[in-house]
């Protein structure tokens, strides 16, 4: 299995000298306020941005140097923008995940369609395979995109806010699904409790810098939450699972504390 190592990755002023690692099979979460550089970091990894400095190495291979197609054979991405024009069916969209493994003029074979169906079954969308993708709900779309990433058979899975716009049930489903894949995974995520429950380790970004990293219990402390997010919170073990759980306090009237940048 494959590990990711990010060395001094920078993009203009939005991401500065980021260092992090994801060990083989690990699920690593990026947390941080809006505009802290999570998406920028992910884009530099999956290749829609060219880093201005530093490297992202997958098993020692510089992802930037691989080029789009070779990179797509190793890194599967569930991007934030999942709009699809025109009515591709769900199965057709998922089967496009085979593209990096095919010559551009090759069509889908029966094996490709079987693979797509298997992936759809795995994400619980088997019944919707023939539906036009634009008619799916947000949660269904997100799971279809995870299915597309599955047929890519990647060594690294990158997800940008995979739980955005989903109701809580689907948030838990999508993250639980990602966990069961066993693939090395890097994801940006807003919800700290979901991050704590589903990630092996977390990195915290603030103003384009990685300020700290470690297990959820090491990272999620009242001091960090106050410093990075500007909120007052208690962190307690979940009564049944023991994972760190953040309990926010309403800010007192008149106290408009913001980030400590």
């Amino acid at each position: 299995m494959t590990g990711l190592r990010i060395e001094g990755l920078s993009y203009e002023h939005r991401l500065r000298d980021a260092h992090l690692t994801a060990r083989p099979g690990e699920t690593v979460g990026l947390i941080g306020p809006n505009g802290s550089g999570k998406t920028t970091l992910l884009r530099c990894v999956y290749g829609t941005l060219a880093p201005t400095a530093g490297r992202a190495l997958l098993d020692g291979a510089d992802l930037r140097a691989l080029g789009p197609k070779a990179r797509a054979r190793r890194v599967a991405t569930v991007p934030q923008d999942s709009a699809v024009d025109f009515e591709l069916t769900v199965r057709e969209l998922v089967a496009l995940g085979r593209s990096p493994h095919k010559r551009f003029w090759e069509g889908d074979t029966a094996a490709d369609r079987d693979r797509a169906d298997a992936a759809l079954a795995r994400v619980g969308l088997a019944d919707l395979a023939d539906r036009p993708y634009p008619t799916l709900s947000g949660g269904e779309r997100q799971r279809a995109l995870v299915a597309r990433a599955l047929v890519q058979e990647p060594e690294l899975l990158v997800l940008d806010e995979p739980t955005n716009h989903l109701d809580i049930r689907h948030q838990i489903d999508v993250l639980g699904l990602v966990r069961t894949l066993g693939t090395t995974t890097l994801l940006a995520i807003h919800d700290l409790n979901l991050a704590a429950a589903h990630c092996d380790r977390l990195y915290v970004l603030e103003s384009g810098r990685v300020v700290t990293g470690g297990t959820p219990a090491e990272v999620l402390t009242p001091e960090l939450l106050a410093a990075v997010y500007g909120v007052e919170a208690d962190v307690v073990p979940h009564p049944r699972t023991g994972t760190p759980t953040v309990l926010y306090l309403p800010s007192p009237p008149g106290d408009q504390k913001t980030s400590s940048i």
Binding site: F86, E87, F104, W105, G124
Partner: protein, 355 residues
Amino acid sequence: MTAVAAAPAPARPAAATPGRGRFALVAAGLLAALAAAVLGSLALGSVRIPPGQVLDALTGRAAPSPYRTIVLDVRLPRVILGIVVGAGLAVVGTVLQALVRNRLADPFLLGISSGASAGAVLVLVLGIGGGLTTTLALPAGAFAGSLAALVLVYALARRGSTMTGPRLVLAGVAVSYVLTALTTLVLVSAGRPEHFQEALYWSFGGLGSARWDTLLMPTAVLVLGTGVLLALARPLDLLLTGDEGATVLGLDTARFRAAVFLLASLVTAVMVAASGAVGFVGLMVPHAARLAVGAPHRRLLPVAALGGALALVVADLGARTVAAPQDIPVGVLTALTGGPFFLWLMRRRPEGAAL
């Protein structure tokens, strides 16, 4: 994950999802309709020719006769040009809609037709080519004008190494307006009313100039261009998932878009040089084809080609017969019938997908 409850099924019927099985059916139906339209076009016109004699002429069993001449030397090249131009415009329209991710894109949104008109009008007004004007110099001028527009749009739409859909549309529309204005300016200041008629015919398009010796170029370009685009079906499908989606699936979107834009523009330029700017086929047929067989280009492009050929052959039959012996520019008919048809298509499109 196994316990995920199915989301409430939408009220929309599953019929909005055409499957692969329909492709053969649709293609066969279109082929049959095209064959019928071709026979009809060969038989009907200012002179009606019995279908039996049309078939005799086609199969070479007819003795030399005026009928045979009309069928083989007048109507047949015109019908073939209709097939070629209709198929070409529909294929290019389909591809451009994917390329700029805009359902309103058509071969002429991107400035090609106004470039062709400008080129043709310049040839007319300057009298380039002398006696050859209508047969050779005009198409050559139109082609040169299209190429000039293409280069201009291409240069304007590129920023660094990227070329996005919206920039392409904006550049195309801007170039279109400027060239149209220049065309009118040249026409008006030349002060030769007889040029207006010719320019009008050019800007609406017509198949009246079809001759055997001018068919080779558009036919070859259609076959080559469609072949290449069909081979690019997979990357074209990837573009439907957006630039970021296509990139993470391994497509170099900037280079691909630029290359396909050039190819599509060249095909359009050749078609327009042969027939003038026949509107609406390239806008309307792709939508109808998508409704019939879905969005994947491997199925869509052949169906669009057949549909475009059928639409233009039928429209040209109308153009020749509705006000016979007057030849209406076929573009007038495609716009007159295409507009309402297009609105009807848009109304029955499934909601949810953006324009």
